[in-house]
Point group: none
Chain length 414, copies 2
């Protein structure tokens, strides 16, 4: 079995200002490929420290992935350290330079002389293109080890890992074993409950084998299937996903690149329905998620953030007396908001969210975390009540996700 | 200066199932003490791997902190590996055993025979009590190095670090050197340009010494000051920040916990001004940022997401002919949106954002990434034009940040 080492560079990492999430991401991807990753190392922005980590890894690993230190500034030293460790000089790569120049031309921004440093790579290396930033990566072979150097910015690193590094590794490994991986996304159940329901599929000997990850309230099941034959592996994946869907029901909202908002947008398109939103505690986050999906401009007729009492009464015509009597965080007001925005805009569906995001509550009957989501359709109004826990931002995020999920379940029943 | 190394153990870490947050936490605490942490290492649950990491660290560090592998099961191997690395045998610590038994007695739970393993520590070690779990830690001195072994569960580790490890380190160090760290946040300049302007302060020998980090379009300068005297260190920090502000001007928007939105919200409160927003391409993201700050409900009178042409004409009274003539992404429409939302709501300031977030553009004159931000005040309307690059979500994020920054600069000029 091939082995890999991950070396993350950056003073912000060794000094603890930033958590090294890159190593876990890369390790996860390599493990799924069937590569063992016995060591991760983190070092500061020093040529000697980076070089010594690379030299040590060269003694024992088939692959080395280095992240960080490819920027334009004086503390970006990965190029120099790797060149020293493999005994090569740095040369200017004209293609890389052209790409960096193009990056700045597109942005109509002046390129600094420092950026030229980013085109210097160890002789004999290949450039790894960076489509989202200025720092190109590079890879090279030294004795029996292949070294891949990627930027430290997680978004850029992930894209380059997927586009350029993983395909090369797959080719280099080629054990004949097929590894397939699929992500199945779940919302609305606790991780413990999900784990209980799919316990059998989480056993290490299970194939497909499922692991769980939790991120921003979403539970993602990582299903890995191993087989000697592609067709059989694909069939096992399909069967595995079907089994998960049977066990978890409608809580499964999508796979791989699906997001709650992309699934909701697809349902709107499928049923040719329009929507308008009236948000209080989520402050525009639901509209923001919906507009993350290209093409929603045809379907989101209007989003309103009616954050103040005044705006709820003026723009949504909710009688002041009602608000004074019962406050703004209850099923009745949520329903009135959803109906009002629907009528005002002529949308097929009106969605409202009202709640208390905290950190404090103004009214004893409205505790922090109490959230109502209401949906108005031609058939009437329905609402859901949620009791969420956490910081202000976390409650906003969960409330917005629950609003999207409520929309999803309603659209599925059409 | 004393150096420390952090070794985290666990298959879940090296395989990327869990992000190693422990290392960052420990590194942050040690750095604040004035201890340099040149290396973090992560290894799997294997005696050889853990032992080799410990041996290597023994060669070069004054302190070693090991996390994980202290549980009761067969893959908890830190005790064995450390004992081997320092050439000592494992002995049963009666006090530790009594503590573990007490833990189970308190919880009225049967103790497994496996838990006895947790009381085995290298001869000559001291127990580090664990008040919240079953796994006691231990520490020992070997030649000139002190080794601290803590459990991997973050809550238990943090408590034991604070209660038992940091006090011992403080005592052992006592160099008299004070280390202060401050973050200075910058928006609107490229990292290369910032680095050029503050190049002198980025030299390793500079004191304060500055490093850069980039996150979601924000550049954060990490300024570290070293002195033998607290008062002097504080003065140097103040001077350093003042120097950065002189070099970078208004691009500096805050320090430490400040965010663009918290700074903007504070300016609104200071000047007792209200705001209303009309967003097109940012889809509610500006309102969402503003409502991340507690108390903005008094000041954000309304947020509108006028995403469709129809909503711009109906809700913001922008004449259809104008939109048909010149499209919706230009300075004129941005200005009309800002003015309309201001008039409609009676807010002191009206803010609008219109642009093309992509991935495609409908009109040749409106390329993806073209964004206008306009601000309407009693003094009139002003606008800014931006050319942004990236994915749809990235353009939305940058556009929202530029909108907040435009607000900030306008409020500063009041």
């Amino acid at each position: 079995m091939k082995t890999a080492e991950i070396i993350a560079t950056g003073n912000e990492l060794v000094q603890g200002d930033v958590v090294n999430t890159n190593a876990a991401h890369i390790a996860g991807e390599l493990t799924r490929l069937g590569v063992t990753v016995p060591y991760h190392t983190t070092v500061g922005d020093e040529v000697a420290a980076i070089g010594s980590a690379v030299e040590r890894a060269l003694e024992r690993a088939d692959f080395i992935v280095v992240t960080g230190g490819l920027g334009p500034t004086h503390d970006d030293l990965t190029r120099d350290a790797v060149a020293l460790a493999v005994g090569r000089r740095l040369v200017k790569d004209e293609a890389a330079l052209a790409e960096i120049e193009e990056h700045f031309r597109c942005r109509d921004t002046k390129m600094s002389a420092l950026n030229v440093r980013q085109a210097m790579i160890p002789e004999g290396s290949d450039i790894i293109p960076n489509k989202t930033g200025t720092a190109p990566g590079f890879c090279l072979a030294h004795k029996n080890t292949r070294i891949f150097c990627l930027p430290g910015v997680p978004g850029e690193m992930k894209r380059m890992l997927e586009d350029s590094v993983l395909p090369r590794l797959r080719e280099a490994i080629d054990t004949g074993t097929i590894w397939l991986c699929r992500h199945v996304h779940v919302f609305g159940l606790s991780e413990a409950l999900v784990s209980e329901k799919i316990a059998d599929m989480m056993m290490p000997e299970s194939n497909p084998c499922v692991g769980t990850m939790v991120h921003d309230g979403i539970i993602t099941l990582r299903m890995t299937t191993e087989s000697q034959e592609q067709g059989r592996a694909e069939l096992m994946q399909e069967k595995g996903e079907a089994e998960i869907r049977t066990l978890l029901g409608k809580a499964v909202y999508g796979t791989d690149d699906d997001t709650l908002e992309s699934v909701v947008a697809a349902l709107f398109k499928k049923h040719n329905k329009t929507i308008a939103t009236a948000e209080s505690c989520t402050g525009g986050l639901v509209a923001n998620y919906l507009t993350d999906v290209p093409g929603m401009s045809q379907l989101l007729l209007e989003g309103m953030v009616t954050y103040t009492l005044e705006s709820k009464s003026v723009f949504l015509n909710i009688p002041r007396e009602r608000i004074q009597e019962s406050g703004t965080v209850n099923a009745e007001i949520a329903g009135m908001m959803a109906q009002a925005i629907r009528e005002k805009t002529g949308a097929d569906i009106g969605l409202s969210v009202t709640g208390v995001a905290g950190p404090t509550s103004q009214h004893p009957g409205e505790p922090v975390g109490l959230v109502y989501v209401a949906i108005a359709t031609p058939d009437g109004v329905e609402h859901k009540e949620f009791h969420l826990k956490g910081t202000r931002k976390w409650i906003k995020l969960l409330a917005a996700r629950h609003a999207l999920n409520t929309l999803r379940l309603r659209l599925m029943s059409l």
